[in-house]
Symmetry: C2
Subunit: 407 residues, 2 copies
């Protein structure tokens, strides 16, 4: 009999960012004269860098010429891009990663949602808490998360890895066995990081427990401090237990271009099966490559000019994060992140709940942020602001908050 | 315990087009002096039309300007594109389809691979035979296909809908109940079509049996004859039982740009659940929109200029198909398709197997086609040639075949 995928019914009714959009739209309608500042969703605001624009124009012209026209791209991505990635992102930093272990995709969201599919139905999933919601939702859709408990905000089948100010945002190793472990560092939403030793402990755990780590490094380009790993392959033994997901969205403003990649080392075997080959098969069956012109734009990121220009953009966003961070600290807030990531994570004042503070800030300062509880139960009582906004508006937002919470 | 998705092990070892590529590479290595003509894979060869190139350049420039820069696109796609699609592809042709039932994606391959995910694990799948391999492979990956029988080339769990010269390529309604029915018309690989009455019978069957039809209309723009439906929504009752998948790849040369869309009518309910809402949830969780610049390129397809230019390209490819079709008929081949689709489907001569004929044609005429058996067991003894090649080379290929099989 025809039926739907019942697992979809276990998903929370609404997606975090849709809920926010609805609340903001309702407020705007009632207060059309108020100027709202959006520091909620993690979308970039600076236009694409000139080197990327130039590469796009050149590639578009190639598509207009019979001699240079390109149709279907290779399943894994064009080798001109995969080889650049292998060299510039990994080999140059002492990491062993080969170009045929790199799968170019239309972004980290697709990859982090789809990667679970190549693993067994019964694998036990462990998740950072709070973390990017796609890991949980994609495993819920696949029926791995069990029963949702309204009281705790947790699924019975998931091993949560709680982080908060209490453990300095360093998750403890799981108290029960986990097979598939999602880690995101620099972390979305908290903006916090793990040191190399701390990440090494996870790699060691995964190798001992025969687990696989899905390491989401979408924000690695924002790392400013020493001793914070940019890649999990900086850790010894990671090639036998770790998959890494990267994105061009946040490092080069590709949120509207869609480009990312996933690294699956050939040394990663499960029951003797090459996980790389499984992912290649999925990629080849349900995806048809990222657009040629956008892979060319990705290659432009690695040019000298491109590197210089995206570094300026990152500096711009990180300066916003600094402005938020310092302004909030001066107003007496307890603040985390914002040093190695464009996200500032704050403890809500006066014991307000995350959504309570969202409403308070929207109503009293016309600022849109993201309630921490939307990223997991341990996010309750926290709130995320992002450095991706316009510099002047970010300063204005901080000025408004400072006035509200003058100490 | 960590495990892989065991269903992946049921997939045929190799993908049809990889096998072909390997054989061709081996032949080329041994015969470097021979000029090979590729009429195998269904990739376009004409460069993008000027109206599309112009739209891409304009959109790229918008991405360089802070005032017009666009980041994340809306989940369903930009309304400028969805509204054009609803009007030009459906309303203008008397079909009831609304813009909020259209989901813009990175292509028909992704959509036709992913759509099965929103249905239950136990639904019974029926498939055209022969047909585009992604429907079968994606359901195999999801564990719906049962056991593979080497002798028949069939999976125990699949309801095959065989078509061949014997039934004039019109499949009979399933002999046992099916829940999810994949139909592709104009058909890839046979190039044959259903009349409106024939398709209406499938819609009636689906409504009676409470089944859903996944209708892949990727080649609709190639239809030249009257009374062949371009959309399943031309049939009465299709809004309660049919999903339609479309692609810009073949109608406007977007194989390297990646753009398609899927229509899920709001009237399509399963157990009271809106299938549209389930697909929206999948789209929102595991996909982040098609690139803005490529959605703008898609919109350019619908301009007067764009329509004129892509019509010229379609004429070019269909003329190739005509050249192949008529040349083969003159050489005594039994030939199908090539009138409402760019694919010519021929019965292999002298009782050769599909792969046997592949090898014969490569060795004796240096022509690459696609063995029919790669599209399903009923494709055995058939062979596909495509009209997507260069006109001169296509003529040369036909000349070579004519010489080999002079009557």
């Amino acid at each position: 009999m025809l039926s739907i995928n019942e697992n979809y019914l276990k998903l929370n009714e609404n997606y975090l960012f849709s809920d926010i959009a609805k609340k903001v739209a309702a407020y705007e309608k009632e207060n059309p004269e108020k100027e709202i500042i959006r520091l909620g969703i993690g979308d970039v605001t600076l236009p694409l860098a000139p080197a990327i624009i130039e590469a796009l124009h050149i590639a578009v012209d190639e598509q207009s010429n019979p001699a240079t026209f390109r149709g279907y791209s290779p399943d894994l991505g064009y080798s001109f891009l995969r080889e650049l990635i292998a060299e510039k992102d990994f080999t140059d930093h002492g990491c062993e990663v080969y170009s045929d272990e790199i799968f170019v995709s239309d972004g980290a969201k697709s990859d982090s949602g789809n990667i679970q599919e190549i693993f067994g139905q019964d694998v036990i999933v462990a998740l950072g808490d709070p973390v990017y919601p796609v890991y949980l939702d994609s495993n819920t859709m696949s029926g791995r998360t069990g029963v949702y408990d309204e009281a705790t905000g947790k699924f019975s089948g998931i091993v949560y890895l709680p982080t908060s100010a209490e453990n300095n945002f360093v998750p403890s190793l799981p108290s029960r066995h986990a097979d598939l472990i999602y880690l995101c560092y620099p972390n979305n939403p908290t903006g916090t990081t793990l040191t190399k030793d701390e990440l090494q402990a996870w790699v060691d755990y995964a190798n001992e427990e025969k687990a696989v780590i899905i390491f989401d490094a979408a924000y690695e380009a924002y790392i400013s401090e020493e001793n914070i790993p940019h890649s999990i392959y900086e850790c010894e033994g990671a090639r036998t237990c770790a998959i890494e997901i990267r994105s061009f969205s946040k490092i080069a403003g590709f949120t509207g271009l869609r480009l990312g990649f996933t690294v699956v080392p050939k040394d990663l075997l499960v029951d003797g099966h090459s996980v790389r080959d499984l992912w290649a098969r999925r990629h080849g069956t349900k995806f048809n490559g990222a657009p040629y012109i956008i892979q060319r734009a990705g290659a432009a990121v690695y040019t000298e000019e491109g590197q210089k220009q995206i570094a300026e953009q990152i500096t711009y966003y990180m300066n916003n994060a600094k402005v938020i961070r310092e302004g909030l600290i001066a107003s007496g807030f307890e603040v985390f992140g914002g040093i190695n990531a464009p996200y500032v994570w704050l403890k809500t004042p006066e014991g307000m709940g995350s959504w309570e503070f969202f409403d308070f800030l929207l109503k009293n300062a016309q600022i849109v942020g993201t309630p921490g509880s939307g990223f997991g139960p341990s996010g309750e009582g926290y709130f995320r602001l992002t450095g991706f906004g316009n510099a002047e508006k970010t300063q204005e937002a901080v000025r408004r908050i400072t006035q509200l919470f003058a100490v």
